[in-house]
């Protein structure tokens, strides 16, 4: 059986944008996960939500995988982008939309004020 680390590597390699979160995009179960969901929805990005509450092995494995102690965790093209703080900071500065553009990820580019 492939280790959880291999399974996680496969998950982020085979999906452009992956959000490991508590709950689902339709029903986030944590304020921090919900904030990232709202940001991704606002940018109209297609992403795969992985509910870590449904699988304890994923919940702990992903923290080791990224050397990041908390959930949510956002991955773009296999690369760990950040947790809630960093994603919100990047969104507010416009860096997140730029990053998606650079990675060839279809998104709604908010009007620059």
């Amino acid at each position: 059986m492939a280790s959880i680390q291999d399974a996680l590597k496969q998950e982020v390699a085979s999906n452009d944008v992956v959000l490991f979160m508590k709950g689902t995009p339709q029903m986030p179960m944590c304020g921090f996960s919900s904030q990232v969901v709202q940001i991704l929805d606002y940018l109209e990005v297609d992403y795969k939500g992985v509910n870590v509450l449904a699988d304890e092995e994923i919940r702990n494995g992903v923290k080791e995988f990224s050397n990041w102690p908390t959930i949510p965790q956002l991955y773009v093209k296999g690369e760990f982008v950040g947790g809630c703080d960093i994603v919100r900071e990047m969104f507010q500065s416009g860096e997140l939309a730029t990053h998606f553009g650079e990675q060839g990820i279809k998104h709604h580019a908010p009007a620059q004020s």
Partner: protein, 79 residues
């Protein structure tokens, strides 16, 4: 089990002696803090790397005793 703000500050400063650390208790429950950390150790590092340095300083408390730490990291302004 929660953490005290002074303990968080002590752990961060033990790992980053030059750090300026400002901690705010967001909920009064010892579980939800915000921390603004300024240190030269962050220079040239990505945001993720900067935050990982702070999490390492907290010696595994992050995500355990410490449920939420809204983190802001920056390098000192060049004087």
């Amino acid at each position: 089990m929660a953490m005290q703000a002074v303990e968080i500050e002590r752990l961060i400063k033990a790992a980053l002696p030059d750090a300026e650390v400002e901690i705010k208790d967001l909920a009064g429950d010892g579980d939800h803090y915000s921390a603004n950390v300024v240190s030269a150790a962050f220079r040239g590092k990505s945001r993720v790397q900067q935050h990982q340095i702070v999490y390492a300083a907290l010696k595994g408390q992050m995500g355990g005793a410490l449920h939420a730490l809204a983190l802001q990291t920056s390098v000192p302004a060049v004087s």
